[in-house]
């Protein structure tokens, strides 16, 4: 079971978009950047999905500073493919930022790719 935390401006929307899909193997909860950074460091959560207008700043917040750039990736306003996401996850990325107006495409894509890894 992979635990995903959401944060940023669209944190509730991301959680709703993923919960409605009924994907097995993941658990998603609304959080915020500071609590999520502590949870990810302590191993109490596995992934963070952050959102804001640009897909970079508020969405990643303090996580880049605390976990390091190596753990973080922002899609900005771009829409990744399933292969992109799988490669990034394999690369060890745990924190992802994307733009508010991309939630409906990026959030389910991320959730499915994380679930596929968790199995």
């Amino acid at each position: 079971m992979a635990k995903i935390l959401t944060g940023g401006v669209g944190k509730a929307e991301v959680a709703t978009a993923v919960t409605g899909l009924g994907i097995d193997g993941i658990e998603i909860a609304v959080s915020n950047d500071m609590d999520a950074a502590a949870a990810l460091r302590a191993g109490r959560a596995d992934y963070f999905l952050g959102t804001c207008h640009t897909g970079a700043g508020a969405s990643l917040g303090v996580l880049v500073g605390l976990l390091g750039q190596a753990d973080c990736h922002t899609f900005g306003r771009s829409v990744p493919t399933e292969a992109d996401v799988t490669a990034l996850l394999a690369d060890g990325k745990r924190v992802f930022g994307f733009a508010l107006d991309r939630i409906e495409t990026v959030a389910p894509l991320m959730a499915r790719a994380i679930a596929a890894r968790a199995v």
Binding site: G7, D33, A38, T54, G55, A58, G61, V62, Q69, R77
Partner: protein
């Protein structure tokens, strides 16, 4: 006319002192960005940490900054400045972020910043004059946007309360706000109707959030998982390193605070989304109120990203905007602005620590920003269609609304928030083209 607040007849005319000030402030902000001490774009700040530590290049960071800012400069900053005649931080400070970071030499940063300031004060005025001279005057039409923006913006606290604390309290806040808007219009017709409502809404949101945090403290805390004490440490050490870096450059920040505060005092600049329209109308007290409530949506974000990255905000907590609007003269504004920035930078670590203990307050700033986005999204779309109608009637609506829908259908190459104003600008040019081809007659006797 009580509810239709069309912006004043703005000409983007600057006095020599104002031109000099804008050029000087842009030179300063570009220098500060070059030194990685402050950037305006909250999205760029997290990336400054790696840049400060030399783990990434100037060009790579500049590319990030450009990518995150360009849409907001052309979609938000420029159309707002053109339609109100008042400058705004997106138009001035996002480009100086990019130019300052990209400048390969320290001496080049202030020159590039000053050049941008000059382009804005001289170029924008010319573009404005040129556009007003066209047969289809789309800039005058764009003032239609002010009414929906001003009035829908007033409702953002109610949306934030609903998102954070549910329908009951959200409905209550909405009812209080609506009541206050109606009351203000009846009893104090000279006051911008949204201001008292916004004050009440933001106070209610903060009240609910503080109450939730106090309740959470009173209930016995969940047993701390082993190792959580250690997990708290890295945050504290990261934050203290950031705060120490910023404190070392206090004099430069005081100069920055002075510059931004004088800019606000000179009445040629509006800090928030709704403020430019109010400044253009000369409603400075109301503009100060609107920008003051907006501070609550951004303060936690700016504080935490500044502490984590060691790079502050160009406008700090943006408190210098409302203070600047209210001050009597530029000299006082310079002194007060410097003092405010000094206090902000010195208080930054305590603010960070306090925010760490107040999760609901931190959440409420995220909900406030989401609510501002939602309210503005509708207001800008609706206002853009009103502008399209004013300049081209049904054909204008067809072209501008059509461009907006096309952008949506193509997967939003243009940010949704900027798509409608951009469509109005493109539509305005298209209608002028049709006029020259003899295929379109301008809407006569447009709204005065």
């Amino acid at each position: 006319m009580g509810t239709a607040l069309a912006a004043a007849d703005a000409a983007l005319a600057f006095s020599p002192a104002q031109q000099l000030l804008v050029v000087g402030v842009c030179a300063l902000t570009a220098t500060v960005a070059h030194l990685a001490l402050a950037v305006f774009n909250d999205g760029v700040r997290p990336f400054m940490l790696d840049f400060i530590h030399g783990r990434t290049t100037r060009n790579a960071t500049g590319a990030v900054s450009f990518g995150l800012s360009a849409g907001f400069v052309f979609g938000l900053g420029a159309p707002m400045a053109l339609s109100t005649g008042v400058l705004n931080p997106w138009l001035l400070f996002l480009p100086t972020d990019v130019l300052g970071i990209l400048a390969p030499r320290a001496w080049l940063a202030p020159l590039l910043g000053a050049a941008w300031g000059a382009v804005v004060v001289f170029g924008l005025g010319g573009a404005n004059e040129l556009a007003h001279g066209l047969p289809v005057d789309f800039l005058t039409a764009m003032r239609q946007m002010s009414t929906p923006i001003l009035f829908l913006f007033a409702l953002f606290p109610a949306l934030a309360v609903t998102k954070q604390f549910g329908r009951l309290r959200g409905g209550l806040t909405g009812a209080v706000e609506l009541g206050l808007v109606v009351l203000t219009m009846r009893v104090w017709p000279g006051v911008f109707a949204g201001a008292p409502a916004m004050a009440a809404g933001v106070l209610m949101l903060i009240g609910f959030a503080v109450a939730a945090d106090v309740r959470a403290v009173r209930t016995p805390p969940a047993p701390a998982p082993p190792g959580s004490e250690g997990a708290e440490d890295p945050m504290a050490s990261l934050f203290s390193a950031g705060a120490a870096r910023l404190r070392r450059h206090l004099p430069l920040f005081m100069a920055l605070g002075a510059g931004v505060c004088v800019l606000a005092q000179m009445k040629v600049f509006g800090g928030g989304e709704a403020t430019s329209f109010l400044i253009a109308k000369g409603h400075y007290t109301e503009a100060a109120q609107v920008d003051f409530y907006r501070v609550f949506g951004f303060l936690p974000l700016i504080a935490t990203t500044a502490l984590a990255s060691g790079a502050y905000g160009i406008a700090g907590f943006t408190l210098v905007y409302p203070i600047g609007y209210l001050l009597p003269n530029p000299l006082v504004a310079a002194a007060v602005g410097a003092l405010v920035f000094a206090l902000e930078v010195l208080a930054l670590s305590s603010v960070g620590r306090a925010l760490g203990r107040l999760p609901s307050v931190r959440d409420c700033s995220e909900h406030l920003r989401a609510a501002i986005g939602d309210a503005l999204g509708l207001a800008i779309l609706f206002g853009s269609l009103m502008a399209a109608n004013a300049m081209g009637g049904g054909l204008g609506i067809l072209i501008c609304g059509g461009l907006y829908l096309l952008n949506e259908a193509m997967g939003r190459p243009v940010v949704r928030m900027a798509a409608a104003p951009a469509a109005v600008l493109v539509g305005g040019v298209a209608l002028n083209g049709l006029y020259w081809l003899g295929l379109f007659a301008p809407v006569t006797g447009g709204p005065a």
